[in-house]
């Protein structure tokens, strides 16, 4: 009855949709579990929807841990990190791109590039000791500053600034425009798409970061969200799965909204490195 082409199309879409369902099911499970009682989460056979919607989980999680503060920490740290990290990458990238006569330029660039592959985990021990020495354990600077200077970010913005014609800058100079004004009023507006792409990647990475905040905080009011959730999960007796699911949902929903809104930039940021590198 079906034509061959039709069957092919059906199979094609069934495969694609199955894949999407596998990608999304854990989120659905997280959200529905966040409305279950603890007993219901560990029931067998499992049920998708809760018998009774437990809004209380969302209230109780704020009582068991300082979750409001944890959410604030995560947002505050990620926003500061993003602004600061993108800014120093933009100025640094501009310097390396447009002052080609400057002595030392090649050396600086080579050193920064050669460290691009070094993962944060390799630096964790000495950075922790450094933070402890200056008394920055459990502080915002320790959460914000250490990974702000990323070779990857500098490289990405430099690549983008390379595409801006030098004539544009020369013309501004002839008109008597100062060097800093050139950067802020000519370069920054032109590189906006790259700044937005890098910014969203920085924000997401930092908001989701676990390893470093785990090391550099040990007071619950200074935890970021991932550390707070991990601590709930790490309890020896009676892991409060219902609270964990509520906390996980609360932390994930804003991120999904941000992702849907900045989708275009995130995708361009991720593919930029691949196609040029």
């Amino acid at each position: 009855m079906f034509e061959k082409e039709n069957i092919k199309t059906y199979v094609f879409y069934i495969l694609l949709i199955t894949g999407v369902l596998i990608s999304l099911l854990p989120f659905v499970w997280m959200i529905t579990s966040s409305f279950k009682t603890l007993a219901e989460i560990s029931e067998y056979p499992p049920s998708l929807l809760p018998d009774e919607v437990m809004w209380n989980n969302y209230v109780d999680v704020f009582d068991t841990v300082p979750y409001g503060r944890n959410l604030f920490n995560s947002f505050f740290v990620a926003i500061m990190y993003t602004f600061f990290g993108v800014f120093i990458s933009a100025t640094g990238g501009y310097a390396l791109s447009k002052y080609r006569e400057a002595p030392g330029r090649k050396l600086f660039f080579a050193v920064i590039l050669s460290t691009m592959m070094i993962p944060m985990q390799v630096l964790a021990i000495p950075l922790y000791i450094l933070m402890a020495q200056v008394g920055w354990i459990n502080s915002y600077p320790a959460l914000i500053l250490p990974f702000a200077a990323q070779g990857f970010g500098l490289f990405m913005l430099k690549q983008y600034i390379d595409g801006i014609p030098d004539d544009l800058i020369e013309a501004a100079r002839i008109d008597g425009c100062g060097e800093f004004r050139i950067f802020f009023q000519i370069i920054l507006p032109v590189i906006k798409p790259a700044v937005a792409a890098l910014g969203t990647i920085y924000f997401m990475n930092n908001y989701n970061l676990f390893f470093w905040p785990l090391i550099v905080t040990n007071k619950s009011i200074m935890y970021t969200v991932p550390v707070a959730i991990a601590q709930l999960q790490g309890q020896q007796f009676g892991i409060p799965l219902h609270h964990i699911m509520a906390a996980a949902t609360l932390s994930t929903v804003p991120l999904i909204i941000i992702f849907l809104y900045f989708q275009k930039y995130i995708i361009s940021g991720i593919t930029m490195g691949a196609l040029k590198g």
Binding site: P26, P46, Q121, A149, F259
Partner: protein, 296 residues
């Protein structure tokens, strides 16, 4: 024209330094200094307090005979070598499917597949702890309902690693699909048209046009996956704690345990250096092999 002295050049280009200083300052303090300091530390025994004792290369020697490190390394290599082909294979197939001209709802599919990457690893870990639970997990419910026995995903020494691989695959396919999709869109259309005129089948087009043209992108994603694999920490930390019996302990978790639970800072520093060396060598060879075959 006279040759300018270096000093004159520096003066003329002083804004170069002004613009670079903020980045350079943070880069030096938080990147260069730790790299050097870490090496110094790795030659010492230090418990986090008091005086450090110089021990030369002892820490490095010890790594060679440390059986826990060997276990962690084997586990990590296992996770790398099983998850990477799965992730990249699925991603390439999915990207080719999504690249068809007449796919409907492409935007929604793309968002759906990308969602796992957006979420934090900790959240992913706690969700999968529930989904893979050996007594009440949803995955085991499916397995039982098609007539098999429940699998002790997180509590058996054989399955703990595989569970981590499942989660890694789930999380990273979408991300790599996006990269590969961008690569596919760069392949000139006429190549496929020419193949069609010559009567090439879908499979032939895939193996003789898509795969060779995608080689640089596949190499790029392979290197990213390799570097990422040797940084695995959160998934086992949350889901299994590295157990049972160290069966899912990763190199980075061993580093974390040595440094921040046993406070063997010198030894952990030496481990950091070894980890870096492994990542460096692995990606160096991949780049070498990849570009060598293309004759560059």
């Amino acid at each position: 024209m006279e040759a300018k002295t270096t000093l004159q050049k520096i003066k003329e280009n002083r804004h170069f330094y002004y613009f670079l200083v903020p980045f350079l300052l943070f880069f030096s303090v938080f990147m260069l200094f730790p790299i050097i300091f870490s090496f110094y530390m790795s030659l010492h025994r230090w418990g986090g307090l008091g005086q450090a004792t110089f021990t030369g290369l002892k820490n490095y020697m010890r790594i060679f005979t440390d059986s826990t490190f060997h276990t962690a390394l084997k586990n990590t290599i296992f996770m790398w070598l099983t998850s990477t082909p799965l992730i990249l294979g699925f991603a390439l197939i999915l990207a080719v499917m999504l690249n068809q001209k007449k796919v409907k709802f492409l935007k929604y599919f793309r968002v759906g597949y990308f969602m796992p990457f957006v979420t934090s690893t900790v959240v992913v870990g706690v969700i999968f702890t529930i989904l893979l639970d050996s007594s009440f997990g949803l995955v085991n419910f499916f397995i039982e309902s098609i007539g098999f026995e429940k699998i002790p995903f997180l509590t058996s020494t054989t399955w703990s690693k595989i569970s981590i691989v499942i989660v890694l695959t789930w999380r990273w396919v979408g991300y790599n699909t996006i990269i590969m999709l961008a690569g596919l869109q760069n392949i000139p259309e006429d190549l496929y048209e020419a193949a069609e005129i010559d009567g090439g089948t879908t499979l032939q087009k895939f193996f003789y046009i898509t795969v060779p043209m995608m080689r640089p992108i596949i190499l790029f994603t392979f290197i990213l996956s390799t570097i990422g694999s040797f940084q695995i920490f959160t998934e086992p930390y949350i889901m299994t704690g590295g157990g049972p019996m160290q069966s899912s302990l990763s190199v980075v978790q061993y580093l974390y345990n040595s440094g921040f639970q046993q406070f063997r800072m010198g030894y952990a520093s030496a481990l950091s250096y070894v980890l870096f060396a492994i990542i460096f060598v692995a990606s160096y060879f991949q780049i070498k092999i990849g570009s060598g075959e293309e004759g560059i």
